[in-house]
Amino acid sequence: MTWLNSHPLSFLVFAPTLLGLILMALPQAMGRLARMLGFMGALAFFVLSLAWLLGHGAGYVVERAPWFTLVGLPVDYALTVDGLNLWLVILTTFLVPLTMLGTWNSLKDRIGTFAALFLLLETGMLGALMAQDLFFFYLFWEAMLIPMYFMIGVWGGDERRYAANKFFLFTLSGSLLWLVALLYLANKAGGFNPVLMGQAASTLPFHVQSWLFIAFAVAFAIKVPLFPLHTWLPDAHVQAPTAGSVILAGVLLKLGGYGFIRFAIPMFPQAAMHYAKPIALLSVIAIVYGALVAMVQRDVKKLVAYSSVSHMGFVMLGLASFTVIGTQGAMLQMLNHGISTGALFLLVGMLYDRAHTRMIADFGGVAVKMPVFTTFFFIITLSSIGLPLTNGFVGEFWILNGTFVSGFSWGRLYACLATSGVVLGAVYMLWMFKRVFWGPENKDVDSGTHHLHTDLNAREIAVMLPLVVLVLWMGVHPRTFTAISEAPVTALLKDAQAPAPRNFVLKPAVHEAAPAAQAPENTEGHAAEPAAHEVHR
């Protein structure tokens, strides 16, 4: 027990692997037992993570010890939970058992192996979220790919091989470039400690910093995914089994955004601000592009996949704004997307399990047959389109507001452009909702609606209820989830010397006005311009 007390993070990271290996050793005939054991274990990890991490008050837990030396460069065994990753860690431990429960009967073959892979994946995700040594982080980052590759490639749909290979190679090719940058910088810094590496990077010439940042950014941007590096996502999501899609959307994509805020931005602040404009531009494109493409999809799952591109564009826009409001919005939006899109994939999975189709045109009038399901789907839809009092609104509003007051000259324009994503989001989600759930019942014997016989059962309701509660909780009281990241985010932006927010200067009434000569420019609101130009070069 003393070991556990001093190494709670190690336990959380590696216990799932241990359990997973045990499950793998069980014979195939005991798949149902393995599934049950896996679920109970994942649930226990979730409870433990809640108890341990929230119990630590400030939520700051560190484990660090020298590990081994790689060609003369020390690698640390370093795990940390702090304000930046606390809720992402809990989101991960929360989604894993929930997804297992939600897809209990979705798979028919090798369910024990699937549960085992799921637990291995949990280790990879938690390790990547907690690792505080870049080599350690890299190991987990790549280790995540393997279980996911098999989940898509073995249990996926008809095009699973193409999707699995695309997912794997896309992500790998990004991270190999990143590995080169990592090793280069580690040689300069004499180790893989991110703080030391950041200090070493700041002494390098600016163009070298830029290249290193680009290498980091591309690896993370593929994971996010940022336009135009997103095309692996729709294929992977559509082909993956429901559980894979949920975790892919719920956690794996977050690691891209998390990589930016944990490593890429603090280590190369100058380069990050230099490239803030292109990143923001790509984010705005992703928001609009993802929404427009989602609008014309015929497969519900693919629609949700493209909506992810749009939603994660908001995350990147918030990060690129370099304001506390925008960055906090990005942090919250990552959690939002994990909850809402995860829930959407679960719901689509429940529909698919019954109807064996996901084509929008195959449905119509589902609300008559499955009222409870419809209610859940509708609430999650509202969250996805960012209706106030659901989580989606707070995140998007912060991001837009943060971008608008951002110290960069492009902030206002991009914020206004990104707002259109809010409209388009409603267009694709509600149009789909209308075609699937409303309207006269589709009586065609081949239709999906015809094959719906049962509404959600108790297990499925038990899966959806916590998600709906979270959607509302995060919308009504977002401070529960963002208060802890406020201090680290503020410190990070201060260290990065982010430009001060740019506000409008209004002209006071005549009798108390300052000298009238300067007034005309001020009304245009370019008072804070110099700071922005400085960074913007």
């Binding site: 493409v293 106030p388 007051v405 509600l430 409303w438 977002p478 506000n503 002209k507």
Partner: protein, 636 residues
């Protein structure tokens, strides 16, 4: 009592939750009790809050409960503000809502989704009260979007039909376009004032000089007005409101006539000191309002569906309200909100009563002669009709006249447009009234079975009629010996934080008399014209339609705006989405960027695989040749 006022919005929310979660199991009696009871409770509390507010020195009651979504420099307190403006609005909402809840008990009694209906209706009251009472813009936006959501759900209430889902979707999406403006407006205001709390914004705005030309605040207010055009169905975002009549009639009365659609006007009144600083915006507001008033009124001339006529009439009347606001007559515009809430709710509920009596027949051409069958409905509808056409002495006359008078002071052209719209209004309202109640029955089967509605429906009609008559007390124009007391009443709210109250120019009483005489005579003339055209049935109007086929078709098809939107906006948008997907995503990024390198790798692999024949002799030969080559190189 102060500490219970948070219950004003929360009570309906609790009612909604109860009806939504347990209503179906609890039975209709419990649903009725809870659904109507919570609104009645909110009404009582609202009255208490109203008088508490009246008792304070500055006519303002501000309560704060905590922080909602603050981070960094942004702070959004959860709080409610009852002042003269929001207090009046709160009373209108809870009062009209209560009557309409009562009416719905009778109207929806046969419906299977009874509990669901009251769930939505209660939820709407919650959101509407949040919109009105919220102390900061994001909190108001909660209500703003929330009422849009309820409107969407209630329009799509008959979701298993063909038309209701489309109408609901259209309403939500059109509103969302407007909401985009509100979000941008909020961002600009935050960047300008560093806060989103209404009181703080207004206090700071009080120190500012009006903007000359197009400045920051002009942009912000224009964006907010864009939101208002969505919610209050003005050009060009009015399209959803006529379709919204797909919902049950009480919904049309409550949401799409009396309360929700006026929230755009409320928003502008709420931020009146800011709008006062932006003359350009006010001019835009006035012209959009006037244009909408005339545009919608002309469409209303030829519609056959009783609810459609009333819907276009609502759009048109909302245009009047904006015309008033644009002419800096915040009190006048709001007064029209107040009077309109009564008589338009009454008209819709009366129409609902007629529709129910006719067994869900909404076609005016199939009605007629119902005066004898529906006496209460007939008399109450008559009061409402007189009010809406501005018959002298009615509340409609008072509010419309004040607006037209202010419009004339701003620009005579606005007045002309307004009067034309008033003429159209008089015509189509008399047409509706005559076709429904007077003349001979055109569908005898339905006529024979028609009977007056139950008391839960006629009682609200009577109460609303009384309200319609009494509303005039609040704002009889000064020119005619009244004191237009609503202006002084609202002044603490519409001039909040202003150091120097802006006084609009005031013309003479003689001018007011002259203008009023002209518009009233014209209006009554067109009313008579409407009555004469339809008193003997449909022959006269049919002949007229044949004589002016182009005009008739244009109006009947609502200027083909819906078709235009589909053809020039939605279809290109879908086309563009498809191009992005199939051309850009699949061919350019995936094809050229991803699969092409993959294919090149595979081709080069295939090429080198040609040398992997699998035959031992080939390998041996290449080994021998390689060895020979090495020997040659090294031993040369």
């Amino acid at each position: 009592m102060n500490k219970y006022y948070w219950l004003i919005p929360i009570l309906p929310l609790l009612g909604s939750l109860f009806n939504g979660l347990l209503g179906k199991r609890a039975g209709k009696g419990v649903v009725t009790f809870v659904g109507v009871g919570v609104v009645f409770g909110a009404l009582l509390l609202a009255c208490s809050a109203f008088f508490a507010m009246k008792g304070t020195a500055d006519h303002r009651l501000a309560l704060t409960y905590g922080e909602w979504m603050g981070t960094g420099a942004l702070s959004v307190p959860i709080g409610l503000v009852v002042d003269t403006l929001s207090g009046t609005m709160m009373l209108i909402i809870t009062g009209v809502s209560f009557l309409i809840h009562l009416y719905s008990v009778g109207y929806m009694h046969e419906d299977e989704g009874y509990a669901r209906f009251f769930c939505y209706l209660n939820l709407f009251v919650f959101f509407m009260l949040t919109l009105v009472l919220g102390s900061s813009l994001p909190l108001m936006f909660v209500g703003w979007e929330g009422v849009g959501l309820c409107s969407y759900l209630l329009i799509g209430y008959f979701f298993e039909t063909d038309y209701a889902p489309d109408a609901g979707l259209k309403a939500f999406l059109t509103n969302r376009v407007g909401d985009l403006g509100v979000v941008i407006g909020m961002m600009v205001l935050f960047a300008a004032f560093g806060t989103l709390t209404v009181a703080d914004i207004l206090t700071q705005a009080g120190h500012l000089a009006p903007e000359v030309g197009f400045g920051v605040l002009t942009f912000a207010t224009l964006m907010l007005f864009m939101g208002a055009t969505g919610k209050s169905a003005q050009l060009p975002l009015y399209l959803w409101l006529p379709d919204a009549m797909a919902g049950p009639t009480p919904v049309s009365a409550l949401i799409h006539a009396a309360t929700m659609v006026t929230s755009g006007i409320y928003l502008i009144c709420r931020l009146a000191p800011v709008f006062t600083l932006t003359p350009i915006t006010l001019t835009v507001v006035a012209w959009v309002g006037a244009a909408t008033a005339l545009f919608a009124a002309t469409i209303g001339l030829v519609q056959r569906d009783i609810k459609k006529v009333l819907a276009y009439s609502t759009v048109s009347q909302l245009g009047y309200m904006f015309l008033g606001l644009g002419a800096s007559g915040f009190a006048a515009g709001f007064f029209h909100v107040f009077t309109h809430a009564w008589f338009k709710a009454l008209l819709f509920l009366g129409a609902g009563s007629v529709i129910l009596a006719m067994h869900h027949e909404q076609d005016l051409f199939k009605m007629g002669g119902l005066k004898a069958k529906l006496p209460i409905t007939f008399w109450t509808m008559l009061i409402a009709t007189l009010a809406i056409i501005g018959f002298p002495g009615t509340s409609g006359f008072a509010s419309k006249d004040e607006i037209l008078y202010l419009a004339y002071l701003k620009s005579p052209a606005l007045w002309v447009v307004g009067v034309l719209a008033a003429c159209c209004t008089a015509f189509y309202m008399l047409r509706l009234f005559t076709l429904t109640f007077l003349g001979k029955a055109r569908d005898h089967h339905a006529y024979d079975h028609a009977h007056e509605s139950p008391a839960t429906m006629t009682l609200p009609l009577a109460l609303l009629a009384v309200g319609t008559l009494l509303a005039v007390w609040l704002g009889w124009p000064k020119a005619f010996g009244g004191d237009f007391r609503i202006e002084a009443w609202l002044a603490p709210a519409t001039t909040f934080g202003q150091l120097h109250a802006v006084h609009g120019e005031h013309g003479s009483h003689a001018l007011a008399w002259a203008l009023a005489s002209v518009s009233t005579v014209l209006g009554l003339g067109f009313a008579a014209f409407g009555y004469l055209s339809y008193k003997d049935g449909l022959a006269v109007s049919a002949a007229r339609a044949v004589r002016f086929p182009f005009l008739h078709n244009l109006l009947l098809n609502k200027y083909y705006v819906d078709e235009g939107v589909e053809l020039y906006l939605l279809r290109p948008l879908r086309w563009f989405g498809n191009v992005l997907w199939k051309l850009f995503d699949v061919i350019i990024i995936d094809g050229v960027g991803v699969n092409l390198p993959g294919a090149l790798t595979r081709v080069s692999g295939d090429f080198t695989a040609l040398f992997q024949t699998g035959r031992v002799r080939n390998y041996a030969l290449s080994m021998a040749l390689g060895a020979a080559l090495l020997l040659y190189v090294f031993l040369k």
